[in-house]
C-alpha cells in the first residue's frame, strides 16, 4: 500500500513540476508586467530600476524558484483585471465548475453502466440497437452544439429552462455557493450538466458494452455458467467487475477532456465557473489569471488521476494495495 501510494505521489509531483515550468514560461513571455503596473509613460531608467526591484533581471532559476515558492504558499499573482489575488478569483469560480462536473458525472455513471451492460447482454434486441444507434449520433455531436441545441429547444422555443447563469444559489461554506439547494438552482444546472455529459455518456456506453461483451466471452464467465451461477450474479459480479478495470483507466484519461468540455459548456451557458473565466482572461491577456488557472487545473487533474489510480488498485487484486508487504 505504502509503496504503491508513494509511487503515485512521486509521479503526481513530477507532473506538477512540469506544469509549473510551463506556467512559469508562459508568465515570462506573455504580456509585460511593467506596463500593467506603471503604464507606458515612464522613462527607461525608472523602468530598469523597477525591473531590478521586481527581480525581472534575476537568473531564470532564481525567478522560477521564487515563482514556485510563492505558488506553494498560495500566491499565484494578482489578476490584472480583478485587482485581486488570482487564486482567490479562481477559488470563487471553482465551486460552480465542480458542481457542473458533479452533475455531469452523475448522469454519465448513472446511465452508462446500465445501458452499457444491457446492450452487452442483449446485443440483438431492438432497444439495444436503438441505444447503439443513438450513441453513435451522440458521439458525433460536439458538446457546444448540444448545448446550443438545448438552449434553442428548451429555453428559446419552449421556455422550460433558463438559458444562462447559475440562478439562485445558497451559500454553504467559504466560497462554496451551491445550486442543489433551490429549485431555481436545479433548473439552471440541468441543461449544462446534460450538455457536459452529452458526448461522454455515449462514449462510455460504447466502451462498457465493448468491454463487457469481451468479458462475457471469457473462459471464467463460461466457467461460472458451468457452475450453475445465477445469470445476474454472472453479469454484475463476475463480468462487471472485470469490465470496470479498463473503464476506470479510460475514465482517468477522460478527466482532462472533461475540464476542456467545461470551458465549452460554461461559454455557451455563461456559467460563472473557471472555464468561462479562463476564456475571458485570455481575451483580456490577464496573464496571472491564465497562469493560475493552468496551475489549479493541473492540480485538480493530478489529484483526480491519483485518486483514479487508487480506485483501480482497489478494484484490481493484481495490484497489491490492500495487503501490506504481501
Amino acid at each position: 500500500m505504502f509503496a504503491y501510494l508513494a509511487k503515485r505521489v512521486i509521479q503526481a509531483i513530477a507532473v506538477m513540476f512540469v506544469i509549473s515550468l510551463i506556467a512559469f514560461a508562459i508568465q515570462g513571455n506573455l504580456g509585460d508586467p511593467l506596463r500593467e503596473l506603471v503604464g507606458q509613460s515612464v522613462s527607461e531608467e525608472v523602468r530598469q530600476q523597477l525591473r531590478d526591484e521586481l527581480g525581472l533581471n534575476d537568473s531564470f532559476v532564481t525567478q522560477y524558484l521564487r515563482f514556485a515558492g510563492n505558488a506553494l504558499q498560495g500566491d499565484l499573482g494578482t489578476s490584472y483585471f480583478f485587482k485581486e489575488p488570482a487564486l482567490d478569483v479562481i477559488l470563487k469560480k471553482l465551486p460552480a465548475t465542480l458542481e457542473l462536473v458533479f452533475g455531469a458525472t452523475l448522469i454519465i455513471i448513472g446511465f452508462s453502466v446500465p445501458l452499457g451492460v444491457y446492450t452487452a447482454i442483449k446485443p440483438d434486441s431492438i432497444l439495444s440497437r436503438i441505444i447503439m444507434g443513438l450513441s453513435i449520433v451522440g458521439i458525433s455531436i460536439p458538446v457546444f452544439l448540444t448545448a446550443i441545441l438545448m438552449i434553442f429547444v428548451f429555453s428559446v422555443e419552449y421556455g422550460w429552462f433558463p438559458s444562462y447563469g447559475r440562478g439562485d444559489t445558497v451559500h454553504v461554506w467559504g466560497y462554496w455557493q451551491t445550486n442543489f439547494a433551490t429549485a431555481d438552482g436545479w433548473m439552471h444546472i440541468i441543461l449544462p450538466s446534460i450538455a457536459l455529459a452529452s458526448i461522454m455518456l455515449p462514449l462510455f456506453v460504447r466502451l462498457i458494452r465493448a468491454e463487457m461483451m469481451e468479458v462475457l466471452q471469457s473462459e471464467y464467465v463460461k466457467y461460472a455458467k458451468a457452475k450453475g451461477i445465477n445469470p445476474w450474479r454472472i453479469y454484475f459480479v463476475h463480468a462487471l467487475k472485470n469490465t470496470l478495470l479498463p473503464v476506470i483507466t479510460v475514465g482517468g484519461v477522460q478527466i482532462g477532456t472533461m475540464v476542456a468540455y467545461t470551458i465549452l459548456t460554461e461559454t455557451v451557458f455563461q456559467w460563472p465557473g473557471m472555464g468561462f473565466m479562463f476564456l475571458e482572461a485570455v481575451n483580456r491577456v490577464d496573464t496571472p489569471l491564465i497562469v493560475a488557472y493552468l496551475i489549479v487545473v493541473g492540480f485538480i487533474f493530478v489529484v483526480t488521476n491519483t485518486i483514479v489510480d487508487l480506485i483501480y488498485g482497489l478494484v484490481n487484486p493484481t495490484v497489491n494495495i490492500a495487503r501490506m508487504g504481501a
Binding site: 473462459e219 471464467y220 464467465v221 455458467k225 457452475k227 450453475g228 450474479r233 459480479v237 467487475k241 484490481n316
Partner: protein
Amino acid sequence: MSLLSVRDLTVKFAMRDQTVTALNGISFDLAKGERLGIVGESGAGKSITGFSLMNLLSRPGYIDSGQILFEGEDVVQMNDKRLRNLRGNRMAMIFQDPMVTLNPVLTIGQQMIETLMAHRKLSREEARQIAIVKLREVYIPSPEERLEQYPHELSGGMRQRIIIAIALLLDPQLIIADEPTTALDVTIQADIMELMLELCQSNQVGLILITHDLGVVSQMTERTLVMYAGRIIEAGRTREIINDPQHPYTQGLINALPQQTVPGQRLKQIPGNMPGLASIPPGCAFNPRCKYATDLCRARVPEIVQYSEVAVACHEVQRLHSDEDRQEARA
C-alpha cells in the same frame, strides 16, 4: 439404468454464410461411476461434446437434434432453471486452462462459496467449512488462507486442484474434464491425473475425460470413444482399443505414439490433416488419409458396427483384418 445416455446428438454452427455440422449423430452411454475417455485430434469435436452435455454451447453453436438423457432427464429440453440446477451440482466441469478459468477479481473463497450457495441452502460459514474440507481433499495446504487469496497468487497446478475441488463441492454424479492437464507443466500433469482418478474412484463419480493423449486415457478410463471430424469412429473398452485398434485412424494414432517407435526412427505420423468442418469429404471423412480407402469409402459414410470386441465405423474393417492376419502369417 445408465447415468448418461446420448442419442444421435447433432451440433451445428451457424456461420455467417453457411451452417457447418460439428457433431454428427453421436451416441454413447455412461454407467454410474464409470470413467470414459474421448480421444481425437483438435477439431474432432471432443470439447464440443463436453460442452453439449451441459447444454453450454455458446453462439454460434447449437444443438440441432438428439437427446442427452442424464439420470433419465433430457438435458436438451431443460429450461434455464433446470439447467442451472444441473450445472455444477449434478454435473461438474473441469476446464482446460486453469490460468484463465478462475475469475481474476474474485477470491478463491468467493468462487467456491458462491457455487455452494447457488445450489444449497447454506449459511456463508457452513459453505466456507465445506470449501475447506474439499480443499483438503485435493491436498491443498493451509486451505483457510487459500480462501482469502486471488487466483493470480497461486500456481497453475494449485489452481487446477482448486478447480477440481470446486467440481467436487456438491458431490456430482458426473465430472467432465476437458484436457485438464494440457496447460500444465509436464511434471505436475501426472499428479493431477492421479488425484482425479483417486477422487473419482473413492467418491463413485462418473468421469468423461476429453484428451488427445492416448497414454492418459489408458491409465484413467475404462472405456474410450475415438472421434474424427465430428463422429465417433471407434468405441469400446479402453484395453481393447489400445491393444487391438480396429479403425485405421485409431491404429494410426497408436502407431504414432513414441512408445511404438524404435528410438532413432521417425515417429510414424498419419499423413495429411483432419479436414475442417466446412470441407468434410463425402463418404468416410478419413478416406483421403487412409491407405485402405476404396470407392465405397469415398461414397458412403460407414455405420458404426460391432466388430470383434469394439464398435467401429469402417467399411473395410474385415478386409483390413484379413490383411493383417496374412501379414502375421507371412512373418
